[in-house]
C-alpha cells in the first residue's frame, strides 16, 4: 500500500512521463537510405565513400572520422541494441558480423533490411567499399577508392622482400595474457604485406592463447604489441618476466608498440595508412639492427 501523499507524487510522475512522447516524425523522402552501422570499420567505409550523411546510427566503438561523434550510438560492435536502433528509424542495417544472428530475423519482421558486408580480411575491404558505394549511391567515389586500395596492396606485394629475409614477428594482443592472431586474420595479412613474417601459428584459429614454450621455440626477431600502453616509452615490462626474458627480441629490445592501433587493426579504408605505419616500424628496426644471418 502506498501512503497517500506518496501516491499523489506517484500519479504526478506518471502524468509527467506520459507527456514525454517523441515529437511527430518528419516526412522524409523514402528513396534515401538511412543506414545503421554495427562495426567501426563499416562506419569508416560509409564516410570514406562520401555517404556519412546517410548514417543515422553507429556503435560505441566508432571513433573515426571525428564527425561520427554527432551520430547517435545504437549498440556495441556486432551487438545492436534494438530499441535505440528503432528510435533512429533506419532503412538498412549494415553488418560484417553479428553476435546474435537472430537479430536479423527480428529486424526483417520490422521491415528493416540487414545487409551483410564481408569486411574482415584484407582482400575484402575494396569490395566492401564498392558494396557500400552501391548501397548509398556513391558508386564513383567508392570505385575510385577501391582502385586506390587495390593498387596500394599490389604495390606493397611487389615490393616485399623474399620470405627468408624478413624478420619474424610475434603479434601480441594483450599485456597480461599471451594472446596472438592466427595467420588468416587481417592483422597477420597486414604484417606480411608490410614486410614482416608471422610465426608458425595455428592457421585455423583466429585469436588464441599461446603457450610460452612454443614462443621460446619460435624465438621471434620482433615483438609487436597491439595494445594501449600508458606511456610513450619503449615497452620494457617483459625484461624481468620468467620465460620472456630469454627471448632474443626482448634481450635486443626489439619490442615495439604500435602507436595508432585503429589504422593497423581495422579492416577499413585507412589500411594503406596502417600499412605505411607498420612498414616505418619495420624499416626503423632493420636500420637499427643490421640483419645478421640467423642461426637455425
Amino acid at each position: 500500500m502506498i501512503p497517500q501523499p506518496h501516491r499523489a507524487v506517484f500519479v504526478g510522475l506518471l502524468l509527467l512521463l506520459s507527456g514525454c512522447s517523441r515529437p511527430a516524425p518528419q516526412p522524409e523522402r523514402s528513396d534515401e537510405p538511412r543506414l545503421v552501422s554495427t562495426a567501426p570499420n563499416l562506419t569508416e567505409c560509409v564516410f570514406a565513400v562520401g555517404a556519412g550523411d546517410r548514417l543515422v546510427g553507429r556503435t560505441e566503438s566508432c571513433n573515426y572520422p571525428p564527425e561520427v561523434r554527432k551520430i547517435p550510438v545504437v549498440g556495441g560492435f556486432a551487438t545492436p541494441y534494438l530499441e535505440p536502433l528503432l528510435a533512429v528509424r533506419p532503412t538498412q542495417v549494415i553488418e560484417t558480423v553479428l553476435a546474435d544472428p537472430d537479430i536479423r530475423r527480428r529486424l526483417d519482421a520490422l521491415n528493416i533490411a540487414t545487409v551483410h558486408v564481408p569486411c574482415s580480411r584484407l582482400e575484402e575491404v575494396p569490395e566492401a567499399l564498392r558494396q557500400i558505394g552501391a548501397l548509398t549511391g556513391h558508386v564513383l567515389q567508392a570505385d575510385r577508392l577501391a582502385a586506390t586500395l587495390r593498387a596500394g596492396i599490389a604495390d606493397a606485394r611487389a615490393q616485399a622482400l623474399p620470405k627468408n629475409r624478413r624478420p619474424r614477428v610475434l603479434l601480441l594482443l594483450a599485456p597480461d595474457t599471451p594472446i596472438t592472431a592466427g595467420s588468416r586474420t587481417f592483422i597477420s595479412e597486414m604484417l606480411e604485406l608490410a614486410g614482416g613474417r608471422t610465426l608458425d601459428t595455428d592457421a585455423s584459429a583466429t585469436y588464441y592463447r599461446f603457450s610460452l614454450e612454443w614462443l621460446l621455440m619460435q624465438n621471434p626477431d620482433i615483438i609487436l604489441c597491439l595494445f594501449e600502453t600508458p606511456t610513450g616509452q619503449p615497452y620494457t615490462a617483459f625484461e624481468n618476466q620468467t620465460g620472456w626474458d630469454a627471448l632474443d627480441a626482448v634481450r635486443q629490445r626489439r619490442v615495439y608498440v604500435v602507436p595508432n592501433l585503429d589504422v593497423v587493426c581495422r579492416p577499413g579504408p585507412r589500411l594503406l595508412e596502417g600499412l605505411a605505419e607498420l612498414k616505418r616500424m619495420l624499416d626503423r628496426d632493420a636500420h637499427e639492427h643490421s640483419p645478421l644471418p640467423k642461426k637455425p
Binding site: L212, E213, F227, N240, Q241, G243, A246
Partner: protein, 330 residues
C-alpha cells in the same frame, strides 16, 4: 580408507609425477638441453609453473578442508567467502585502468587487495550479524560475492573489447607466474597460512562437532575461528592473486582425501597439501600440452578429470561402510 601405515606408500609416486611434469611441455617431451639459452629458459619456465601449481594446489586444497570443517558444509570451498569475486574485481580494475602494462606485479597485487578487502568486509559484516556462525558467514560471503560480481559485470559491459578479453582470460585461471619474486612472495604467504592451519588441526577436529561443543571441549573459539578463517582465506587470496580463479580443486581434493585418509585434520591437511599440489601440477601439464601451441584453461582440466574420479569414489562408498567424520550438515 587407507590405513595410516600404508599412507607413506602413496607418497612415493608424487616426486615421480612431478618429474614427469617437468619433462613434458609444448616444446616436446624430454629434459630441455640446459646448455642452450632456449633450453635453460624452457626449463625455468616449466619449473616456475610446477612450483606455482604445487603451491596454488596445496593452498586451495587446505583452504577447502579448513573451510568445510569450520562452516560444517560439504559445499564450502576456498571461494565461498567471496574471495574470487573480490579478486576478479581487483584484477579487472587494474586491467581496465591500463595498469597491467605498467608492471607485471600490478595484476597480482590488484587481485590480492581485492580478495583481502572482500574477506575483511565479509568477516566484519558476519560478526555484526551475530558472531562467526557458519550459515551467517556463508550467506554474507555469497551475497557480498554476488554484489561484487555484478560490479564486475558492469565494468565488463563498459570496457573495451581488448580489456574484456584480458579479464575473461584472467578469470579462467593460469599458472604462468610472471617472475620468481612473485612466486617466492606467494609461496611465503601460502606456507604461512598452511602452517597456521596445520597448527590448529586439533581445533579443526573439535570444530567438526560444532562451535558450541568445541567451545565446551576447551577451544577458545573467539580467537580460533577468525584465525582459521583468516588463514584459509589468506591461502585462497594468495592463490587467486598469482593464478586467477581455478575451480574444483578446493572443493574436490578435500572430499577425495577425506574418503582416503579420514577426517582427522592432523593427517588430512598435510595430505591435502601434497596431493592437491600434485593434482594441480598434473592438470596444468595436461592444459599446456594437450592442444599445443594452444593453452587451455587449467580449470577445464581439473573438473573434467577430477569430476569423474570423485563420482566414482562417491558411488563406490555406497557399498562400503558409511564414512565417518564427513563434514556434512546444513
Amino acid at each position: 580408507m587407507i590405513p595410516q601405515k600404508q599412507l607413506l606408500f602413496w607418497l612415493i609416486p608424487i616426486p615421480l609425477l612431478l618429474a614427469f611434469c617437468l619433462l613434458s611441455g609444448a616444446a616436446g617431451f624430454g629434459l630441455p638441453d640446459a646448455a642452450t639459452p632456449t633450453g635453460r629458459a624452457l626449463l625455468e619456465l616449466r619449473l616456475s609453473r610446477i612450483v606455482t601449481g604445487f603451491f596454488v594446489g596445496a593452498a586451495l586444497s587446505c583452504s577447502g578442508c579448513a573451510l568445510q570443517a569450520v562452516l560444517r558444509n560439504a559445499l564450502a570451498e576456498p571461494y565461498v567467502l567471496g574471495v574470487s569475486s573480490g579478486g576478479s574485481l581487483g584484477a579487472a580494475v587494474v586491467i581496465v585502468l591500463g595498469l597491467a602494462s605498467l608492471t607485471p606485479l600490478a595484476l597480482p597485487l590488484g587481485a590480492f587487495v581485492g580478495a583481502a578487502a572482500t574477506l575483511l568486509l565479509v568477516c566484519a559484516l558476519a560478526r555484526r550479524a551475530g558472531g562467526y556462525m557458519p550459515n551467517t558467514l556463508i550467506l554474507t560471503g555469497v551475497v557480498v560475492g554476488s554484489m561484487l560480481s555484478s560490479l564486475l559485470m558492469l565494468l565488463l559491459s563498459f570496457a573495451q573489447s581488448r580489456a574484456v578479453h584480458s579479464i575473461t582470460w584472467w578469470m579462467l585461471g593460469s599458472l604462468q607466474a610472471t617472475s620468481w619474486s612473485l612466486v617466492t612472495l606467494i609461496a611465503f604467504l601460502i606456507v604461512l597460512a598452511l602452517a597456521t592451519l596445520i597448527v590448529e588441526s586439533r581445533t579443526l577436529n573439535a570444530l567438526l562437532l560444532g562451535t558450541e561443543t568445541a567451545h565446551n571441549l576447551g577451544v577458545r573459539t573467539r580467537i580460533a575461528l577468525p584465525l582459521i578463517l583468516g588463514a584459509a582465506t589468506l591461502a585462497a587470496a594468495a592463490a587467486v592473486a598469482v593464478s586467477g580463479i581455478i575451480g574444483f580443486v578446493g572443493l574436490l581434493i578435500p572430499h577425495v582425501l577425506r574418503r582416503l585418509t579420514g577426517a582427522n585434520h592432523r593427517t588430512l591437511l598435510p595430505c591435502a597439501a601434497l596431493f592437491g599440489g600434485t593434482f594441480l601440477v598434473l592438470c596444468d601439464t595436461l592444459a599446456r600440452t594437450l592442444f599445443a601451441p594452444h593453452e587451455i584453461p587449467v580449470g577445464v582440466v581439473t573438473s573434467l578429470f577430477g569430476g569423474p574420479f570423485f563420482l566414482y569414489l562417491l558411488t563406490r562408498a555406497r557399498h562400503h561402510a558409511p564414512l565417518q567424520g564427513e563434514a556434512t550438515t546444513l
